[in-house]
Amino acid sequence: MEMFLMGLCMSVFGLGIAAVAFGAATRSESSKSAVQPELPLVKAVAPARFFSDRVAAPPTVPIAASPRQVPIEVLLLQIENHVRMEQAAAESFLAFPTQALLHSKTTSPFVN
């Protein structure tokens, strides 16, 4: 009888240890799984920063587009000045044809 009770106690004790061990194991898995989702979360943040970087880039667009803000009359005048300078350069070449004069630079904003 004593042996039976001792065996029962040992079984209950073993069962308790197994339950605690199982609980601990289960808890650690759940805590691991709680950490793992953070990784994708960090990964999810990275693209957001990437896109936010790309969004931050557009300030250059208005700068690049700023020449479009020049009034069209000014732009047409610039084109006319460019044509006049190019004609003058071409006339110089025709008067004295050399390779240097053929490719001489003007001060036109369209080529500088």
Partner: protein, 154 residues
């Protein structure tokens, strides 16, 4: 006033040629002819400046962009003597009104037939005008091409 088209002609021939034409006043900003118009007259510039322009798309708008300017003594509209007799540019009086002599092609052709010697000299003068335009724009085209090549090879 001497006209580049009439270089080398005797004063009597010059007078006869000019007598074929009609003097016209072109108010500032007014077109003498438009791109694509039938070219039945050529013009000798007497006063003011004539702007030659071509249409170009600038910011979704079609603008007449400056190509060349003709001064007193220079010829405008030689397309009147060259098939298919269509103007390839638009000519407009610049800031001030201009005065030109309009010479009809038919009258000139008749004069050339009756005066081959004078017609030959005028044809040579016309070749100089056209040749200069060709050389000028050939040079300008090459300069632009050179820049395009430089930009693309960077």
């Amino acid at each position: 006033m001497t006209h580049d088209l009439l270089n080398g002609l005797s004063p009597a021939d010059v007078e006869q040629v000019l007598a074929l034409g009609t003097r016209m006043i072109v108010p500032s900003g007014t077109s003498l002819f438009q791109l694509g118009d039938p070219a039945d007259r050529l013009f000798l510039t007497e006063r003011g400046r004539i702007r030659l322009t071509l249409p170009m798309h600038v910011r979704d708008r079609e603008e007449n962009v400056f190509v060349e300017e003709r001064s007193p003594g220079q010829t405008v509209g030689w397309s009147a003597l060259i098939p298919p007799y269509r103007f390839t540019l638009t000519a407009t009086a610049a800031l001030h009104e201009a005065a030109v002599i309009a010479l009809p092609r038919e009258a000139l052709s008749g004069y050339f037939a009756a005066n081959p010697s004078a017609g030959y000299k005028i044809a040579l003068n016309l070749a100089v005008v056209i040749g200069h335009r060709l050389q000028l724009f050939q040079t300008m085209w090459l300069r632009e091409m050179q820049r395009t090549v430089e930009v693309r090879s960077v």
